[in-house]
Point group: C2
Chain length 152, copies 2
Amino acid sequence: MTTETAVRPMRIGEVAEQTGLTPRTIRYYEEIGLLGAGGDGSEPREQGKHRCYTSADVERIAEIVRLRDLLGLSLDQLSQLVEAETARAEIRREIKETDDPARKRELLTQANGHITTQLILVRSRVAELSKLEVELAERQLLCEQKLAELAE
Amino acid sequence: MTTETAVRPMRIGEVAEQTGLTPRTIRYYEEIGLLGAGGDGSEPREQGKHRCYTSADVERIAEIVRLRDLLGLSLDQLSQLVEAETARAEIRREIKETDDPARKRELLTQANGHITTQLILVRSRVAELSKLEVELAERQLLCEQKLAELAE
DNA sequence: TGGTAAACTGACGTTTACGTAAGAAAGCGA
DNA sequence: TCGCTTTCTTACGTAAACGTCAGTTTACCA
């Protein structure tokens, strides 16, 4: 009797459905190094065999897509930003497996750095957009005032 | 003696500098209808003659670039969003020149609609990004907590 | 009224981000 | 084990957004 609630492996088609991407796009992202080579973090997959993903992989991919859409970065910039999300998966895996507290600290610090980088970018983007929003709102107000004057 | 403080006409190179675009890009935007055909709102420019822009044109172009960068839209979507920014320049010009209050009201209402459309888009984008920001911040907190546990 | 810097008009080239087609191989249920 | 669906790899195709000549033409100024 094995653990029934274990990670159900998925193939590329299902991942594509759940992320809104196409299989081709997923392969392409893997090709340019934006996604990890095997699918999940296990052994690098043998030539010709089907890719295999876990639900954790799906979450990571979905998040990359989210960053892509919201920040409008090129895939190249995106790669740098997530600094091979692959590596992060690697990190998470290693965090759970290692017992060395020094190593654990190192990994956590690294992950924290990645998050911080992303936060900085997101926040600056929010700031810029907010500024734009204010300016647009002001113009809208002006427009409405003029309309009100005309109506009196 | 002419009005010395009048609109100083600019040529494409200067506009490029001020907007951070290249002359080619400006011509391209004009080519696809994102920018108006002549430069400024005067007569449509004769074949072969230099394009001529006013500082108002520069502002409009800069704003289009801003929307492009912040929203990450395709130039096609962007065209729809600003609905030929040309038209808006046209509207402004006509607003100043017309004395017909009915026409004026119509133009103002139209301009207001454009602004509203942009505001909706910007606001939804801000909302999405803010949500992402919160999630990233939560993760960051978690990371730091774990690090703190390790350090005790 | 030359001369020169900057601009104009094609037209083809390039990069990014995938789409699409073809033939072979893998997986999985019956 | 057979058959069918889904993937795999390879490779060429494509749309968007410009870059880059090349040969002319303007616009400005000494």
